[in-house]
């Protein structure tokens, strides 16, 4: 089993190092190989996703990814900016199914900005389509407007689009995931305004015919954003497009108060996947040894489960994380009165010890 390790920028290398430590202690027959990605790769090779890094990712059975991005790359041309690496990996590897759990850890209920009773026990799974929509739709660019409010003026444009098979495959992913959970799927669209999302809704309804045991409902994206804030526990599985999923999955992750704890998986059609924490590269705290490595460690657990067929090893990691939380160990982002503040490395060590 070959794992590509792509630490990236900011806190990426610190948090990935802890996850690698945890993987190593499992004594499974992994081969791990690292490569630079994002700003780090731009500095080393002049491109955020060098061919060698992409090739490593293609050859691997799974990818453990840290985070990319730093203010200092803001002035680069778009194709050279760190984020292009993650967009390129998604596209070239066909990672169309993004799993973003939004879980409120019992021990961290108080850390949410929502009232505790609204988030206690929260467990939502947001499934975001990741290779289509306005993220990759062509044509896009700048031009002179020929119609609209100001014909003759300069304009910029992008194309939102979804094809039937793209919607079908993410619908199947969502219904199958719901079968293993609460058996309810909420499809989030904007069918009242967008042709793309009227089609999305139509195809969701068609695919749903194969899953009579799962409930399907539909919600407009503006309402979904409101319901997440008002009563997040009403959701089980939420499925949506790339753009809406970007916004809603981040909002949902943040409102749990546990964003430093939340892993994510981006899978292709054969369950090969890229695994990364839900949070970003946090350049402001990079190098200080205070970042929370648990989201990355839990991403490694997700990798063992989804891509490497090692559910027991995954369960050992998850249990170990539960145990360090119960011991009262906390990195700064989740620390509160009465718990013990630890750094990135100490937290990783504690998980290793608990395993």
């Amino acid at each position: 089993m070959k794992i590509a390790i792509l630490p990236g920028d900011g806190i990426g290398s610190e948090i990935v190092a802890e996850a690698v430590k945890v993987l190593n202690v499992l004594e499974l027959p992994f081969e791990m190989e690292s490569a630079p990605v994002g700003g780090a790769a731009y500095e080393a090779h002049g491109h955020p996703l060098p061919d060698s890094t992409l090739q490593l990712a293609k050859d691997a059975d799974a990818i453990l990814f840290g985070a990319v991005g730093d203010w200092k790359y803001d002035k680069l041309d778009r194709p050279l900016r760190p984020e292009q690496a993650i967009l390129g990996l998604r596209k070239h590897l066909g990672l169309f199914a993004n799993f973003r759990p939004a879980i409120c850890y019992e021990q961290l209920t108080h850390a949410s900005s929502l009232k505790p009773e609204l988030v206690a026990g929260l467990d939502i799974l947001i499934i975001r389509e990741l290779t289509g929509d306005i993220y990759f739709g062509q044509p896009r660019g700048r031009r002179t407007a020929v119609d609209g409010h100001f014909p003759g003026s300069e304009e910029a444009f992008d194309t939102m689009r979804y094809s039937r098979p793209e919607i079908e495959r993410i619908a199947h992913v969502a219904f199958q995931a719901a079968r293993k959970r609460g058996k309810r799927v909420t499809s989030v669209d904007k069918a009242n305004v967008l042709e793309t999302f009227q089609f999305w809704k139509d195809v969701m309804i068609e695919v749903h015919a194969d899953y009579p045991d799962v409930e399907l409902d539909h919600m407009y994206v503006d309402n979904a954003a409101m319901q997440l804030v008002k009563a997040p526990k009403r959701f089980d599985v939420m499925v949506t497009g790339n753009m809406f999923g970007d916004i809603l999955s981040d909002a949902a992750a943040m409102l749990t108060g546990s964003i430093g704890m939340l892993p994510s998986a981006s899978l292709d059609k054969n369950n090969k996947g890229l695994y990364e924490p839900s949070h970003g590269s946090a350049p402001d705290i990079a190098g200080k040894g205070i970042a929370n490595p648990l989201a990355t460690i839990l991403s490694a657990a997700m990798m063992l489960k989804f891509s490497l067929n090692q559910p027991e090893a995954a369960a050992r990691i998850e249990a170990a994380v539960g145990s360090v939380l119960s011991q009262g160990l906390r990195t700064a982002d989740i620390w509160s009165e009465g718990t013990q503040k630890v750094g990135t490395r100490e937290m990783g060590d504690a998980v290793v010890k608990a395993i």
Copy 2:
């Protein structure tokens, strides 16, 4: 001064009736004329925005709008659905600047799903561009894909677009609004992915040169959704496009806990405007006499201030609303232990009395 009164569907007629009562008591030289809109207009005239209604809106100095929409129209073809009325009014009247205040009323701090300390004193103004973006961009429709992941398959598509003058005019609106408040504008974009919003960001920076006394910062839409949930008070004025604004303004309104209290204005370039509550038509409670009329009453106050040049009259209404809240009167949506539950009409009467 001519005001078009468009009550619409669901609770629309109940809440608008209270706002009209309040306007009448001011004894100003208004002429008010009503017309059906949305589902009500479809039933009466076979179209959600009949020519007669549109003409009335065009001839008026301002429009007081209730709400549109009901599940029972879900099966109609898109052009006949109630929401098309509001989209049509925005487009035909050129109402490009949408003002959505997200205020947490002191007396209602507890009603927020966020912890009280995060929302106490909250006062954000979201300015949403309302006549451009993917809402109106052409081309859009269904076709056979010629490229993408599944060439040859059926696909649906929409066009996101913004021209320079469209971005410039909403930028001016935002900077001018910020001058009268906290002097800070956050422009929300997705410049890391979308051509449209890289252009948006570029033009925001250009227009900002005219407003050296106002601070400008930029935030990606996913991060903005997170910051709204985590620390909403960090914002003063937020300006964004039509689609992102739809999502963020609803999320912000809901997290105040005061959505039944929040007015909105949609203005054209001459400050003619359409005024409506931030909440929807709530068909589930229509006809029960329990809807909160305060958002509509406060929308009428906004109308007096922005379009009808009657700031004193607006202030009288706002003070009266403050006074009924202080008296402890609450409709069901904002009721809590120790306050007095009242219906729609009683609430309107109380405001009239306080004036």
